[in-house]
Amino acid sequence: LNNWKKTLGGWLFFKEPKKVETFILREDEFDKPDKEKDPGEGKPAGSREETEMKEPGKKRKNETFLLKKTQGQASREEKSERGQEKDKEKKENPQKEEKSEITPELVRNLDFMKKKYFIPSNGDVMIREFKITFKDKVIDAFMIFIDGMTDRKVINDNILAPLMVFSNMDIKGNDELKQFISNRLTPHNQIKIVEKYSDVIDEINFGGCTIFVEGVDAAFTADVKGWEHRGVNRPNTEQTLRGPQEAFIESLRTNTALVRKIVRDEDLVVENVAVGMRSKTPCNILYIKDIANDSLVAEIRTRLKSIKVDYLRDSGELEQMIEDNPYNPTPQLIATERPDRVASMLTDGKVGVAVSGSPFVLMMPITSTDLLHSAEDNFIRFPYAMMLRIVRIISIFFSLLLPGVYLAITNFHQEMIPTDLLFAIGAARERVPFPTLVEILIMEFAFELIREAGIRIPGPIGPTLGIIGALILGQAAVAANIVSPILIIIVAVTGIGNFASPNFSQGFAFRIMRFGFIFMGSLSGFLGITTGLFILGLVLCHSKSFGVPFVSPFAPKTRGSFAADVLKLPLWKMESRPDYLNPKDRYRQPKISRGWTQRGEGEDDDDGE
């Protein structure tokens, strides 16, 4: 409201649009060289939890290294000058100090870390000072970590004990202090030597511990993550009767492992990207290298890297940051908590993005037909899946249009209602004092209230809500002549239709749009409904999901069929991958995928294969 003048001006006056080249997923893009590729692209992520998440740091390091090499002598001459400038900058701007290099003076390092983590105000950041014996010299050192995010046992047994106790043993070899600590005193599988404070902070913030030693101009960081997380459990929002019953959890590496367990393909790439300027939330781009279109992967990588938010907490936030059309009512990505669904979409040529801390993986690009599919569709026989999909399509029409159509028919097209039914509706409405529109709005709003309250209400009082809701919405409203019984049926069928939607976000979209159709239907009957559908159709046809038209494969028409995408074909008939994804490998399976049907050719019919 503060900017109402600007908003009004935006509606009324034309503004020269910025020339933006939108991404369109085209065929054979993978033949072109990929400009966006990372130097480390294609390398699978490390074996343990998010240890290699510091890509930006690494990249900076590599870039500096290359710069040093190419510029050679000249750079060395400039170095001293730059150093002086840096010191100057440090004094002027303490924030930049974080990016500076670690000093060999332990006191200075300790002061910096204390200042950075507000110690002693910060209760969970622990500093443990101790001494190391090296070549008969006693050297001061300290360790810093966040209690609760780290594994105490690993710190005690694999870091502190060797440093404090084993350092007193006889030294063999001529290693310098830095190498000696790294190679002999820290028997832990992931130790890194870092030279910048920023890298140290990144490690500590993500459950690592860091050791500073007097006289060493670097720090030793160890991956000792050990926070609490829940175990892999059954899915909550995408339940199925057949198929795997595992769901993602909040731990990123567990989630990627769950997908790998199903895909079992060395071409599955799990690429690291950090999103969030402050949080540097680890995200993974998942794709199958020899199936997914390179330009699509590059586009997703570009979008993720271009995001400038301070904190990224969940995939829900990321979804809003990377989707093509924020004003499109329907979702343009699928957020799924099922590893088997992710695996299935990856094998189609889609790309996934997993976010640390989120039990939902985002899959993209999608089309409108994907929103009709459920995880179960491939696990049950095709006639059953086909029937379920038809039921879902009908449910969509109910959840979106039923109240609007009811209003349109009762207010404008009464002749459509068979006479007996018309009498029944008339008799039921006889004693209701409100017009149908008000009646519907009362009931729909009451239903929305119950839904929202059902989510917010504490578990033990849940059943009370059910009783109140059923009484108000059902018996009492009818008994008090506030609404007619037929309207209860309409609202109930609309609600059930909405619940039948396999995608939660899509269900939300229909809940909102339903009100639009109620108003359109009440204003001008079927003309209003048609205008509403027309506008919705235009918005959908205009939308793209990562360069793929949202109403593919129907408009534009691509390879694929109504039977395959909307209904369901037998699994052995699903030979090709979705054409609109322009995958590198177009076919899932050969024309004859059931080899046994060819046994003794000519003897048996192949059911049309």
């Binding site: 001008s524 009957g525 205008t531 506008i535 159709g537 918005v539 046809c541 534009p556």
Partner: protein
């Protein structure tokens, strides 16, 4: 990886033009044909289809050397910017005239069929909202939506015409030649104007991939539209006796009214209202988009969005000018449907001939130099 040039496939373009031509079936085409040649109205449909195919063949032959150019580009090449503006203005007037009339007719039809108590301006507003949104979304969205909806519209049309088969009386189309060969060949020739929407092809050439694609779209669309036209008149004539056929001003609605399927589904013509309104919205959206497109291109503007509201107001105002439905129908059938072929077929042919001449001259000039 990127590139924002809009390109349509043959299928989408064909359905887009098909809807453009065939919307007349909903508006009153069958009655118009019956008025032209009596019970031989269906023969007029075939005759005008053949004429349209011939006209299109001539234009396509001349168009061969101008692949990827629309009529305005060709006018610019042949006659300079003055020529482009003149041709642009002629087509602009044509598109505004027919769009305003069709807007009014559809509004009136809706009023007659279902919204008897609503003011006509209120009904027209609904169409306007649809076409304004469509203009903002752009031609890509309109054409894609057409590709989705038009098959449904034609299925609906076939359901109505096949569903009333029990009412067919083959005696209704006798005498076969209706008002006589003179009426068929004479007055029928003017009905070439029913295919005037084919001219939209000459504006979507930049969106089509090749000249071959343009040819395919044109021939396919005219032929299929001819089939639908003929079938609509034929079934209309069979379902109602001749004296009645010239009375109904919304023939397809009357056909839908007699459609009956059991005791429960008796008056389901309102369901067809959905597809008629959809057809109207698609037609008007396409027409409106091309009004803006022609205006932008004629006057060399960079954007067309700033004039959306202005043209919407203009269209609304013009559509409100005829005092009633009958006046609107007279303006359409008596003037537009008889003479508009001059603009949509004759002008492109003349323009292409001039462009050919200019091209030859410039080549000769180039060689002699």
């Amino acid at each position: 990886m990127t590139g924002n040039k809009v390109v349509f496939g043959s299928r989408e373009s064909s359905l887009f033009i098909l809807n453009f031509i065939c919307t007349q079936i909903v508006l009153g085409y069958p009655r118009d044909m019956v008025e032209t040649a009596g019970t031989a109205g269906w023969i007029v449909s075939i005759y005008s289809t053949v004429l349209a195919l011939i006209g299109f063949t001539v234009i396509v032959r001349l168009y061969r050397k101008f692949e990827g150019l629309d009529l305005l580009d060709i006018a610019d090449q042949a006659l300079g910017s003055a020529g482009r503006i003149a041709v642009g203005m002629i087509f602009l007037v044509y598109l505004v005239y027919i769009s305003a009339l069709v807007l009014r007719e559809f509004g009136e039809d809706m009023k007659v069929i279902a919204l008897t108590d609503s003011p006509i301006s209120f009904i027209i507003m609904f169409f306007l909202v649809g076409i304004i949104v469509a203009a903002y979304m752009g031609i890509e969205a309109i054409v894609r939506l057409t590709a989705l909806i038009v098959p449904v519209i034609f299925i609906g049309f076939l359901i109505i015409t096949i569903g009333i088969m029990p009412y067919f009386q083959f005696g209704n189309i006798l005498p076969l030649l209706g008002d006589g060969a003179g009426a068929i060949l004479g007055k029928g020739s003017l009905k070439l104007s029913n295919f005037s929407a084919v001219s939209i092809i000459f504006f979507i050439t930049p969106f089509l991939r090749t000249h071959r694609c343009m040819k395919t779209v044109g021939y396919f669309t005219i032929s299929l539209a001819g089939v639908f036209f003929t079938w609509s008149v034929y079934s209309y004539l069979l379902a109602f006796p001749y004296p009645t056929t010239i009375e109904f001003f919304i023939p397809i609605y009357q056909m839908a009214r007699i459609f009956e399927y059991g005791r429960f589904f008796q008056r389901i013509e309102s369901v067809f209202l959905l597809i008629w309104a959809a057809s109207a919205l698609l037609y008007l959206s396409g027409g409106f988009y091309f009004i803006l497109y022609v205006f932008r291109k004629t006057f060399g503007l960079e954007h067309q969005k700033p004039v959306i509201w202005s043209f919407a107001v203009l269209l609304f105002t013009l559509s409100m000018l005829p005092p009633n439905l009958t006046s609107a129908l007279i303006l359409e059938t008596r003037y537009f449907r008889n003479y508009i072929w001059i603009i949509t077929f004759a002008i492109p042919i003349v323009l292409l001939l001039i462009a050919h001449g200019v091209r030859k001259n410039s080549k000769k000039g180039g060689k002699s130099e």
